[in-house]
Amino acid sequence: MIIAERRPIPKVLKAIEPYEKILVLGCRGCVAVCSAGGDREVETMAAALRLARKLSGRPLETGEATFIRQCDPEYLAPLKEMVRDYEAVVSMACGVGVNLIADLFPEIRVYPGVDTTFYGANPALGEWQEKCRGCGDCILDVTGGLCPIARCAKNLLNGPCGGSQGGRCEIRREVPCVWHQIYERLSARGELDRLMNFFPAKDWRPAGHGGPRERIREDLKMG
C-alpha cells in the first residue's frame, strides 16, 4: 500500500494561513490503514490546527469528513457541494488524492496534510518498510522476489557494492544488504544461475523518468 505520515503541523498551518474555515478530509484507503489519514488522524489534525490558531489569536473553524477513497472521481464527487462552506481543504490522502482534487475541482484550494513516502509492507504493528518503487519493468523473477531497486540504496542491478559487510548495507548497519539476501536466497535454492545474465543499464522510462505514466485499458472503458 501507499505509506504516508502526518505533515508537521507548522507546514500545514502555513499553507492555510489566510483562511478561517477549512475542511480536513480523510481517506479510508491506504492512508487509513497506515494510520496517517483516516478518521482518527483527521480528528487529530483538525484539533491541532484549531488549537494552534486559537493560541495565535486567529481562531480557525474546521469541518471533518472522510471519503472511502480520494483517488477515484466517484468517491470525490460529494466534495463539490460539501466544500461550499469552506475556504480550503486539507487532504489527509496520499498525494494522488490531493492531485485528483486539484485536477477535478480547479476552484478548490487543496493542501496536503500528510507527506506521501513510499509503497510499503506492514511487517509488524507500527512498522512499514519500502519494498517496491513501481519501476514498470519488474525483475523480481530473477532476484528471488527481493527488489534491489527499492531495497538497495544504490539501486544496483548486478550484485552488491563494495560496502556490503557481513550481510549489512553500508548506509546503515540495521539495513540488510538486499544483494546479500538475494545471493543467499538463490544460492540456497541452487538457482544462482539466474544471476548469470548481466543486466544492461536499466531503461528508467517505464519508472517515470519518461514523464507521467498512464495506463489505458480499452476493454474497461465506457463507450
Binding site: I9, L13, T44, A46, A47, A48, R50, A52, K54
Partner: protein
C-alpha cells in the same frame, strides 16, 4: 489570581474521585472518564487544551493491572503523541502528564491531579 483550568482524562477504573476530592484543587478541573484509557485519543487531549486547560493529566491503570490488558500502555503512547504536537505548535510538551495508577485508589490519583495543577500554575506564570 486568574482561574486555572486543568484536564484529567482517565478510565472508570483508575479513579472514583468525586467533587468532594476535587474541592481541594483551587481551579477548574475538566474531567473526562472513558470506559478504558486505551480509548483516549490524541485528539481528546488536544481538545481539552482547546477547552482551556493549561495542563492535562492522562491516567491509566498500572501496567500489569489494566482491565483491558494494554489499554493504559496505549494511553501512554497517545500522551506522547499529544506532547509531540504541542511541541510542534510551540507549547511546552510537559503540559501533558501521564501516570500509571493503582485502580480505585483515590489517594495516588489526587496526588497526580495536584502535580498537574502545579504544572498548569507554572505554565500560566511563564506565559
Amino acid at each position: 489570581m486568574a482561574n486555572i483550568t486543568i484536564g484529567v482524562l482517565c478510565c472508570h477504573y483508575t479513579n472514583q474521585a468525586g467533587e468532594e476530592d476535587f474541592r481541594g484543587i483551587p481551579g477548574t478541573v475538566i474531567l473526562k472518564r472513558y470506559p478504558c484509557s486505551g480509548h483516549i485519543e490524541v485528539a481528546d487531549i488536544l481538545k481539552t487544551f482547546e477547552e482551556g486547560a493549561e495542563a492535562v493529566l492522562v491516567a491509566g491503570c498500572e501496567k500489569d493491572k489494566c482491565h483491558n490488558l494494554s489499554g493504559s500502555l496505549r494511553a501512554e503512547k497517545k500522551a506522547l503523541g499529544a506532547r509531540k504536537i504541542l511541541e510542534e505548535i510551540g507549547l511546552e510538551p510537559e503540559r501533558v502528564r501521564f501516570a500509571f495508577l493503582p485502580r480505585l485508589d483515590t489517594g495516588p490519583f489526587m496526588e497526580e491531579v495536584k502535580k498537574t495543577f502545579e504544572t498548569a500554575l507554572n505554565m500560566k506564570s511563564k506565559s
